[in-house]
């Protein structure tokens, strides 16, 4: 999962980035609305955390301009808790709204819910045959036995599972699993896929040559 954080307060941005990376998200950052909009338009993020009060272009404006092109889920962060601000945020196209100072676990839960809802999933437990994914605890089990996955392997499996039935291209996977700071070589994706197949059994992930991967 790849997340964009747009926040002008550097200490808050740093803490949020660290918290999300701890949760194995790929994280990109921007410190103003203009940069944020550029990032959001050029990359398919799984979610955007957007601060309202920012120099140059504020959160409202950025959201409004983004919505003309993309439906990326947006979670607004604001220091104003008046209900008219909340109404404005939701009307402008924000998908959720968190008032500062927020509780970090709550923010992370809302972010998970936002990503889950976008893929049409309502529960935080996902079952594919014998395979079971706990999206909240980021745990995978096969026939009731826990499977030990690395963070990357888990995110890769989660992404494919949330897009079950679709063919996910390699570009897509790169976009959603790695952030700007990753200097991953393309063949690393193959390594993760082959490791997953070893751990889960070969038939879960199918390869569509020339198109990408999918979980049926």
């Amino acid at each position: 999962m790849r997340i964009l954080i747009v926040e002008d307060e550097p200490d808050l941005l740093k803490a949020l980035t660290r918290a999300l990376r701890d949760e194995d998200y790929a994280v990109d950052t921007a410190t103003n609305g203009a940069d944020g909009l550029f990032n959001a338009e050029s990359t398919d993020y799984d979610a955007i955390i957007l601060d309202v009060m920012m120099p140059q272009m504020n959160g409202w404006e950025m959201l409004e301009r983004l919505r003309k092109k993309k439906k990326t889920p947006v979670l607004m962060l604001t220091a104003r808790d008046q209900s008219r601000d909340r109404v404005k945020g939701l009307d402008t196209g924000a998908d959720d709204y968190v008032v500062k100072p927020f509780d970090l676990p709550e923010l992370l839960a809302r972010l998970r819910a936002l990503i889950r809802r976008t893929s049409g999933q309502t529960s935080s437990d996902l079952e594919i045959g014998k395979l079971k994914l706990d999206l909240r605890a980021r745990k995978v089990s096969l026939d009731g036995d826990p499977v030990d996955l690395t963070a990357r392997e888990y995110r890769l499996l989660e992404y494919l599972a949330l897009h079950r039935g679709e063919v996910v291209s390699r570009t897509d996977l790169y976009e959603h699993l790695f952030d700007e700071n990753d200097t991953t070589l393309s063949n690393l994706l193959e390594v993760h896929i082959s490791n997953l197949r070893k751990k889960l059994g070969g038939d879960f992930i199918t390869t569509r040559r020339g198109h990408g991967y999918s979980i049926e």
Partner: protein
């Protein structure tokens, strides 16, 4: 409760006066009628007496001496020792009985003569006068007693029953009319009072509603000409001021909360994310530093808020002493020169000596604030000019920059608390949005003024004017 209502008090006074007036008039009218009636009866009695007298006393026998010398009249024939009657029955029935009058004549010797309808037991008053006329009311009879010089007394009387009945009738009519007037008058008075007081009720109802919460409501002032219209206008302007004050207060509170939210969220998020797992000493250090920055920011904000609150409540006292404003300005310039150099901004000073009385530390704060604003809002490589000079008993300090300037929509509001020309916090510089508000409070506490001129693309000039009459108050 009812006694305190203006409407009821008005009504009570109105009713009381109306009753006094009407009953006075009615009683006066009745008394006049009664007198007139009695007067008429008396006049008739006198007429009858005039008719009767020639028969009791000879005509022309008016003088005292004459009467004494003359023999008793013979026109009236006394029929017996205690009785006498007029000679002509015709006269009696014509002049007396038919008209309801009666007479009794009694001679000195005790002989009497009377009309047939005369009551028998009429007492003759024992009056001392030998002659003259006396009127009296006995029961419902009115009687005129005349003493003839010869000693004969003649009494002419009539019943007042008819007159009294008529007067009673009149009294009853007057009472009914009076009551009618009082009732109608009270009703009209009530109507007038209600009508006159209705706008007051409307005003007070509207005022109650407004006071109960909705300060945006106003009293209807359609009758602006009347006194009540003026009252409503005054109330409305008071409400408008209240509304503004409330809105400002709310804005201020919300702004202050907003300013505190960001550093608090830094602390919460930093600590929560750090504590989720073991970190390296370097990471702990970074977290602590971030928390410290946030805490310092809150401390500065709280200090600024308290400072403003002290100015608002007049608790902030200035330590006034003679000092040179030029020196203060020079100190501020030296303090901020490193920051200016960092942004490659040149500061030019034209500081002529300005000896004055005031709180040099506070005014230094003002100069520093203006200068740091000029540096922070200037473009790189810009210029700042600071000057102090005298202008007709006023010390003038100006700080100008050639930065981007302030747009006219922001210009009137930049001295407001938490107002920022750019909507975002520029948190990195740790500014609270209170600097200019505090500067303004300090200058105004000195009896001075601060204003700004700005043109977009050319720059801004802040001018502080401090009157020479800034003397210690004690």
């Amino acid at each position: 409760m009812i006694l305190k209502s203006i409407k009821w008090r008005l009504q009570a006074w109105h009713g009381f006066l109306l009753i006094c007036l009407v009953s006075g008039l009615m009683i006066g009218f009745y008394t006049y009628q009664q007198r007139a009636r009695l007067q008429a009866v008396d006049n008739e009695l006198r007429e009858k007496l005039t008719l009767l007298l020639p028969r009791v006393a000879p005509p022309g026998g008016r003088g005292d001496g004459e009467r004494r010398r003359r023999p008793p009249p013979d026109e009236l024939r006394f029929d017996g020792p205690a009785d006498f009657s007029p000679r002509e029955r015709n006269f009696e029935s014509g002049a007396f009985e038919a008209t309801g009058f009666y007479y009794i004549a009694r001679s000195q010797e005790g002989r009497r003569s009377s009309s047939t309808n005369a009551p028998q037991d009429i007492p003759f008053p024992e009056f001392k006068a030998r002659q003259g006329t006396t009127l009296r009311t006995r029961g419902e009879f009115r009687e005129l007693i005349h003493a003839v010089p010869t000693g004969t007394r003649v009494l002419v009387g009539t019943s007042l029953a008819t007159a009294l009945a008529e007067l009673h009738q009149l009294a009853a009519t007057l009472t009914v009319i009076g009551l009618g007037i009082v009732v109608t008058g009270s009703a009209v008075g009530w109507w007038l009072a209600v009508r006159a007081l209705r706008p007051i009720n409307e005003i007070s109802n509207a005022a109650v509603k407004i006071a109960a919460g909705d300060l945006s409501k106003r009293i209807n002032t359609s009758e602006t000409e009347s006194e009540l219209g003026q009252l409503a206008t005054v109330l409305n302007s008071t409400f408008a001021r209240l509304e503004t004050a409330f809105a400002q207060q709310q804005q201020f509170t919300s702004d202050a909360a907003h300013e505190l939210r960001t550093p608090v969220s830094v602390i919460v998020t930093q600590t929560q994310s750090t504590l989720t797992r073991e970190r390296t000493p370097q990471e702990y250090r970074e977290t602590l530093e971030a928390c410290q920055r946030a805490a310092q920011r809150m401390r500065r904000l709280i200090e600024s808020l308290l400072e403003l609150a002290r100015f608002d409540t007049g608790q902030e006292t200035l330590r006034r002493a003679p000092f040179d404003l030029a020196n203060t300005a020079r100190d501020s310039v030296e303090l901020l020169r490193p920051l200016a150099r960092l942004r490659e901004i040149a500061i030019h000073g034209e500081l002529s000596p300005c000896e004055m009385l005031g709180d040099s530390e506070r005014l230094g704060q003002v100069v520093t604030n203006l200068l740091s604003n000029a540096i922070n809002h200037n473009k790189e490589g810009g210029e700042i000019r600071i000057s102090t000079r005298w202008e007709t008993r006023t010390a003038v300090l100006t700080v100008s920059d050639n930065g981007p300037g302030i747009t006219p929509e922001h210009l009137p509001r930049i001295f407001e608390r938490f107002y920022r020309a750019d909507a975002a916090r520029t948190s990195t510089q740790g500014r609270s949005g209170l600097g200019l508000a505090i500067s303004k409070a300090i200058v105004e506490a000195h009896g001075g003024s601060i204003d700004v001129q700005s043109r977009v693309g050319i720059g801004s000039t802040f001018t502080v004017r401090l009157p020479l009459a800034t003397r210690p108050e004690s």
